[in-house]
């Protein structure tokens, strides 16, 4: 490992803030800015987006001048790949498939985010969580979820 002369976390954070600031600023451009009596919807967003971009520049500048004090470390690629789609899957299927299958699938998918999870364990876990939630939320609390949705009707 060669000695770096900049702090990668600060540089990356600075760049992200600059990009976000520009993105927010860009989408606020179409909004009316207004006057000080009647501030338009674009007033605050534009000012704040400018401030965010400026802060991003400052963070980037300080990152380029300092040494890294801590490594970024390993990234949770597998975790992100299985975990993040789980709530999305639930959202996509809860109306069509219904609460029970949607929750089962989402839990099963999330379970594989850890390499320690054995397939039979994941299956047992998903079944247990689904059964518990169905009893508690659907039967006991009577929440208006359809347990099995129209996609399964035929």
């Amino acid at each position: 490992m060669r000695d770096r002369t900049f702090d990668p976390t600060d540089v990356a954070a600075g760049v992200i803030f600059i990009l976000l600031g520009l993105a927010f600023g860009f989408s606020a451009l179409g909004l009316e800015i207004g006057t000080s009596l009647r501030m338009g919807p674009g007033y605050a967003p534009l000012v704040l987006a400018g401030v965010l971009t400026l802060l991003g520049v400052l963070i980037l500048a300080s990152g380029l001048r300092s040494h890294p004090d801590e490594a970024i470390g390993p990234l949770a690629w597998r975790g992100a790949a299985f975990l993040l789609p789980a709530p999305i899957l639930f959202g996509l299927t809860v109306r069509g498939l219904g609460f029970v299958p949607a929750l089962f699938l989402a839990t099963l998918l999330a379970a594989f985010a850890s390499p320690r999870m054995k397939p039979w364990q994941a299956l047992a876990l998903a079944v247990t969580v689904t059964a518990f939630s169905t009893i508690v939320f659907s039967y006991a609390l009577g929440l208006p979820f359809r347990r099995f949705g129209p996609w399964l009707a035929q």
Binding site: A76, L83, P87, M117, L125
Partner: protein, 502 residues
């Protein structure tokens, strides 16, 4: 001696065996649902509301109040144990509470939170009984200019939430403010940052943001490395109950938090939101060891938890004296009252004294039940941490999905959870802390709305902020806080200079 006879009436109402039972059921149900990760007080109450419709009006409201306190306790529990706050107030508890849990002091953190909440709840209930009408008068003096100045003060406090880089904390606050502005502009109807999606017309859902940047990001961090799911909380769980030194360390923060929370809770326009954040800032400033904050400081749990619970109690004041709900939870209670045939208004106290004082009395009884119930439960909650992490986290994901979805029945909120989870993880890796982002998100709309409203009401004259006395006082206080915050920096700089000269 009116007060005594009123309180006697209240306790007579609340302590009837049936009402005690409903209070207990409410407290238990509230705790059990609220402790499920990602399910905060609003979601819990929305879920449990229909159960209360079948009861007598007084019993129904007593049970609902019990559910509310129970859900708050439950929310703090998940914030401490797995870094999963379901409400803005418990986001602060998560900062140091979770760090205490990671150091094997989960039991202590939970006990400190419970004791602080109970003390604050008792004091605030007494305040509600004694001073509800005069406090209402104060709250009504708050107009747009005052709220704006209060939010500015809150914003300054936000930076103190971070223990890392000052610049990054500031950037996170600003990003939070921007995210908070998303949605339809209430003044002109112009859509802002909605990406053309009707689901974003009312902005991002707070629960989705909190679950994403706190909970999901933390789970991802724990899944890092080739091994995957390292043992997060270690095997040593330490003593369950606070030591004598712990208790001594929590007294002063608890008192200050209770005071701050009681005052801010009365303000219906979002004052209570600031209570726990403000308390954290104060404790960090006053602490002899500010570097402990963010690494598991007891004061960082005791203060905000007390402030939060005191605020929860006094936020009933506008509802009780005016019939105006101060937050979404109160709005749910108003709905429940109307369904029971009671339309809440300024006359409830005189027309239905048994209801009015019965609810106040049951607040205290509910808090008492919670502490009795929760102290023994701490042992069980802490044992849950012994469940292997790779078993625990899919369960967390499942419950969070249900919780987020149940708030509005909106699938889009679940997509937001995933997006904010990713964003939160990236920021975590870049050592940008999520708490200032969350506070910015909550303050953003309030800040802008009240600024614009004050300018309209003040005919475009910015001096309204200085000519209205409460607003001017708040701005002066803001300047004071900034000065105090800058002082150690200046001193340090000066010392560095002196060292260099030596």
């Amino acid at each position: 001696m009116d007060l005594l006879s009123n309180l006697a009436l209240g306790f007579a109402t609340a302590a009837s065996p049936a009402n005690l039972l409903f209070c207990l059921i409410g407290v238990i149900l509230g705790t059990l649902i609220g402790v499920l990760p990602g399910i905060g007080a609003t979601a819990t109450i929305a879920m449990l509301l229909p159960i209360t419709f079948q009861l007598e009006p007084v019993s129904s409201l007593i049970m609902l109040a019990g559910i509310y306190y129970g859900a708050q306790y439950g929310g703090s529990t998940t914030a401490i144990l797995i870094n999963m706050p379901g409400e803005s107030s418990s986001a602060v508890t998560a900062i140091d509470g979770y760090q205490m849990a990671r150091r094997g002091k989960a039991g202590t953190a939970l006990a400190v939170a419970a004791l602080g909440s109970f003390f604050a709840g008792s004091v605030a209930t007494l305040l509600v009984a004694l001073f509800a009408p005069p406090l209402t008068t104060v709250a009504l003096k708050f107009g747009a200019a005052e709220y704006f100045s209060l939010m500015v003060l809150g914003l300054v406090c936000a930076v103190a939430l971070a223990h890392g880089s000052f610049l990054k904390a500031l950037a996170m606050v600003v990003l939070g403010l921007l995210l908070g502005l998303a949605g339809t502009d209430i003044y002109t109807g112009a859509p802002r940052f909605t990406l053309g999606l009707p689901e974003l017309a009312d902005g991002f859902n707070f629960v989705a943001l909190a679950v994403g940047v706190f909970g999901i990001a933390e789970i991802l961090r724990n899944l890092e490395g080739s091994q995957g799911s390292r043992e997060v909380l270690g095997q040593r769980l330490g003593g369950l109950f606070p030591s004598r030194a712990d208790l001594r360390a929590m007294v002063a923060p608890m008192l200050r938090g209770t005071m701050l929370g009681s005052i801010l809770g009365v303000l219906p326009g979002g004052g209570a939101i600031l209570a726990s954040f403000g308390s954290y800032t104060i404790e960090k400033r006053l602490s002899a060891t500010p570097e402990e904050f963010g690494r598991g400081a007891i004061a960082g749990v005791a203060g905000p938890e007390s402030a939060n619970n005191a605020g929860a109690q006094t936020s009933f004041i506008p509802l009780l004296t005016l019939g105006i709900p101060a937050n979404p939870v109160m709005a749910l209670m108003v709905g429940a009252m109307i369904i029971q045939g009671i339309v809440p208004g300024p006359n409830v106290a005189t027309e239905q004294p048994d209801l009015f004082w019965g609810i106040i009395a049951s607040m205290w009884i509910g808090n008492l039940m919670l502490i009795v119930l929760n102290l023994p439960l701490i042992g069980i909650w802490v044992k849950l941490l012994k469940v292997p992490y790779h078993i625990l986290f899919p369960i967390i994901i499942a419950f969070s999905s249900i919780g987020v979805y149940s708030v509005k029945g909106n699938a889009f909120d679940l997509f937001a959870v995933a997006a904010f989870g990713l964003l939160g993880y990236v920021f975590l890796k870049l050592r940008c802390e999520p708490a200032p982002l969350l506070l910015g998100f909550v303050l953003g709309p309030l800040l802008e709305e009240n600024l614009r409203r004050a300018m309209i009401l003040g005919r475009g004259d910015p001096s309204v902020f200085l000519t209205r006395p409460i607003s001017a006082a708040l701005l002066a206080l803001t300047l004071g806080v900034i000065a105090v915050m800058l002082m150690p920096r200046i001193r340090r700089k000066r010392e560095e200079v002196f060292v260099a000269e030596d």
